[in-house]
Symmetry: C2
DNA sequence: TTAGTTAAAGCAATCGGTTGCGCAGAGCGC
DNA sequence: GCGCTCTGCGCAACCGATTGCTTTAACTAA
């Protein structure tokens, strides 16, 4: 199970050791192992066998020095502790890890608050990564600027209005539009929209989708029912209180974090879902799926987003063809909370 | 905000470049910057200033080659998708990242199913890390064996019976004992214990604590009420069904994952908490705190566990003094679910 | 004055690979 | 038999640091 050989420090076998054991030059061994250059069949076999016997393992650091590569992908994760409540990013990370490790890359993580690019800067300064995956983006993102300035290939899991950024996401605008249209068709006349941090591009997309759906339906929406900068439990509670007083019959939550808070506030006020008010969310974490009643939501697969982002950034690094701006499929999952 | 200088490729300034600009040798510059060796005040100032002007940034890869170091810490995270539901590990990771980055180290993550050390092996083989933090341990853990064989410093966030492993955890045995004793004092006579994977050492600790509390109370427990290898939603549902039939008045859940499932099963069967049955859990994720009713639990701070683990493994790497087996404090948080 | 110390800085090997270039020899056409 | 190409491989520079050893010069003590 271990890669360790029987000999004491044979794990330290270097290219040079293999070369000397065979009486050939380092370069020959290197070329055999890397598959580059012209090598006779005979020499190739000899080298392969000897390397295997000596349990030669290339030193990735040394290779990195020579090639100016690290074989690492950086992943910037949101820092707020509260976000831990929703496993979205953890599942993204899982997808990313699985994909990059299959290419013998590894993942270096940086936790950072929005707008704080200092961790990313450290990683770039220390030349720790060949490419980066951002898991969200704010307007005029300093992280994006930093990556561009340093010519480091990167992709974003999420949406941004910056067309020069490769984006991996579901189409939040059309998803929110679809969801809103569905609710309108269910007879909701006064739908509230609860969104998180205003500077996150994704919230703008959702807002646009919401507005589009209303425009297409010919009905008018109440701008006073749009809360576009909620943060923290208290803010959501307050908003829900106001919404009730304003006679809403439906709530769309920008994410599950807000949804959990809203549900909790509704329960406290003893307002029945979906009888008195309907509610829907985005992403639909497992925890919401086991809620009573089950929650209607736009479902996305964070694992798949992670996989796709990883594949894309690896393609960028290796100058392969890739699809700019992948929009993954989402699913409008209708559950009891909006019936 | 960026570290990039104005000159086009001054970001590539190497030790040699600085040395040549000053007409001194590489070693002198290196010694100044590393603070090792005897350097005159005058030269030191000259070098410092020039390095700053040229925006010299040491190449960590090259330094790593020379020193056989990577300035990376590996973190092995559980792979099961379901675990994403509980942000415990995400919060551990946050604590780890914050601590190691303050020492200019970075975090390399490996996602791995229990018993699967292949990702860790890859990372070790590729010499990507100077030390490792394990976030759980199974009996005869192949990861532990691998780390020992390769003489890589590591700590475990969690508990194990292997005394040679440095452990960072709360004392699950005494915590579970305390919780059980409290429930006994509340008049629970038939308490069920729902534990996860049997091969996880932490579940053994909880089991022991449970038994201890009963022994000290002089009362007897019903071994048929101990479920010690639950995995998956269905298993928990089945167990809850049986428990009800067996006339239990209380459930202790080994973790929040099980607790969420159990609560969901109870709700389905319309069994009131805490009127018909009491329930308590471990860790108490934010999601459970906003549950109705709030859940009694042993509270631990995963962020603090991460911080402590990171500090400890860094001490091990740098041969500093450290505390073996840190037991962090926990808190028995009594809520409505057991009243 | 001379030998002995010592501080300051340079030389060059080393870490473990990659890679451009050149050389020797085989094969081939004319 | 001559020149040409092509194959297979070695030489040595290079990536960008660290570090043991040596050198130089200045300073101290005898």
């Amino acid at each position: 199970m271990s890669f360790l050989p029987n000999e004491k420090n044979a794990s330290k076998a270097s290219l040079d050791d293999v070369a000397k054991a065979l009486g050939v030059s380092k370069s020959t061994v290197s070329r055999v192992l890397s598959g580059k250059g012209r090598i006779s069949e005979e020499t190739r076999n000899k080298v392969m066998q000897c390397a295997a016997e000596m349990n030669y393992q290339p030193n990735v650091i040394a290779r990195g020095l020579a090639q100016s590569k690290t074989f690492n992908i950086g992943v910037v994760l949101p820092y707020e502790k509260d976000l831990g409540e929703i496993p979205f990013f953890q599942n993204c990370l899982t997808g990313i890890c699985e994909t990059v490790s299959s290419m013998d890359y590894d993942v270096v993580v940086a936790m950072a608050a929005a707008d704080d690019a200092s961790q990313l800067e450290r990683i770039i300064r220390n030349r720790k990564v060949d490419g980066v995956i951002l898991t969200r983006s704010v307007i005029n993102d300093p992280a994006v600027r930093l990556l561009k300035e340093n010519s480091i290939p990167f992709v974003l899991i999420g949406s941004t209005s910056d067309d020069s950024v490769v984006q991996i996401d579901i189409d939040h605008e059309s998803a929110c539009s679809e969801l809103t249209a569905y609710l309108l068709s269910r007879g909701c006349s006064r739908t509230a929209l609860l969104l998180g941090n205003k500077s996150h591009n994704v919230n703008l997309s959702r807002y646009n989708g919401f507005v589009n759906a209303y425009e297409q339906s010919g009905k008018a929406f109440d701008a006073a029912l749009i809360y576009d900068n909620l943060s923290g439990r208290r803010a959501v509670e307050l908003a829900v209180g106001e919404i009730i007083n304003k006679g809403c019959d439906c709530i769309i939550c920008g994410d599950d974090y807000i949804c959990v808070r809203a549900l909790s506030a509704l329960k406290e006020k003893q307002i029945a879902v979906p009888e008195k008010i309907k509610i829907a969310s985005f992403y639909n974490s497992p925890i919401l799926q086991s809620y009573t009643p089950p929650i209607t939501a736009v479902n996305a697969d964070p694992f798949e987003l992670g996989e796709t982002a990883a594949r894309t950034v690896l393609s960028l690094i290796n100058d392969e063809d890739f699809c700019k701006d992948v929009f993954l499929s989402y699913e409008l999952s209708i559950k009891k909370s909006t019936l």
